[in-house]
Symmetry: C2
Subunit: 193 residues, 2 copies
């Protein structure tokens, strides 16, 4: 008796993600999303609860496709030192690859807390926490293997690596060019030496 939608919800979330990523939450209007997806207003509100809901799903998708996937791949690398340097090289490459200089949606969102509720904040906080944990695990493995000096303190260093990541992502949005970003990534290696 029902009737199937003429569009794929997942496609809409993906498009919305692109727009939110480029223009930020406040800077994105529902009309922008309507324009970029072709889905009409009524249908949009029929499929989603509203702007916040749309953003939440977009953020979840981004976090899953970008950070989670990247960490999953890196967990597979045996050498923890290589895992960390590969991580930073990838971040720099991603930052330079994007002509729109959008940076990282999660980090951008962390500077935009006022607009968002607990649920969004939790996603962002979890992302930072899991990143820190990833680095910490890698450092501890390096200790066991003897490839990372014992003088490298796991928790403080992992937090500094996250700070460097944030710095690269933010400065990569315009303030610094390719050479600078690569140099920063290289300094990350010094922190684990």
């Amino acid at each position: 008796m029902p009737w199937e939608k003429s569009f794929d919800e997942s496609d809409v979330v993906d498009q919305a993600m692109q727009v939110f990523w480029e223009k930020g939450y406040a800077g994105t209007s529902i009309s922008d999303i309507i324009e970029s997806t072709g889905v009409k207003r009524g249908s949009l509100y029929n499929a989603f609860e509203g702007k916040q809901d749309l953003f939440l799903r977009a953020l979840l998708k981004y976090d899953d496709e970008q950070r989670r996937q990247r960490l999953r791949q890196l967990e597979a690398i045996d050498d923890p030192r290589e895992a960390i340097t590969t991580f930073f090289d990838g971040i720099v490459k991603d930052s330079l690859k994007d002509p729109a200089r959008r940076g990282c949606l999660v980090i951008n969102t962390s500077l935009d807390y006022e607009h968002h509720d607990e649920e969004v904040r939790k996603i962002v906080d979890d992302a930072f926490r899991e990143l820190t944990d990833f680095f910490e695990r890698a450092i501890r493995r390096g200790h066991e293997q003897g490839t990372i000096p014992a003088t490298v303190e796991p928790r403080p260093t992992s937090r500094a690596l996250v700070a460097l990541l944030v710095g690269i992502r933010v400065l990569g949005r315009g303030a610094m060019g390719r050479t600078a970003l690569q140099q920063i990534a290289a300094q990350a290696k010094r922190l684990i030496s």
Copy 2:
């Protein structure tokens, strides 16, 4: 023949700065500024060109009072190593001191380029450049004095220190607490060792 204003322009800029700092450019409405200053709409547009102009002046004031002043004080410190560590300690202290967790207006603005014109971008870019130069000068002085190892490369390291600064300012907005920020600042010292 004329008639003197009933308010001080500088006070208004200062108030506007506080509001922009807390709520961001897009998140701040002219009505917000009217409310927080008590200056009425007509008078405001009589004294300033508009929202952009107001923001520009607020940003200039912030940059001058915060960054420039801080750097000026630190330039006076003889020991470059101490100058750098004092810098980071001050940043962490400032971040923790502010209950509103507003971070740094300049850095926040660097993630909000779409709304702004060349003039604003130039201020932000100059701020990052001058910070990098400050660190670089300090490192070179350390080389001369022998207090900073020759293996510490001036340009890459100074850029990494800026990235760490950005990381602290962004993560200090909510994602990380006092201990974490202090640990990150401590790692900055490792970069110049």
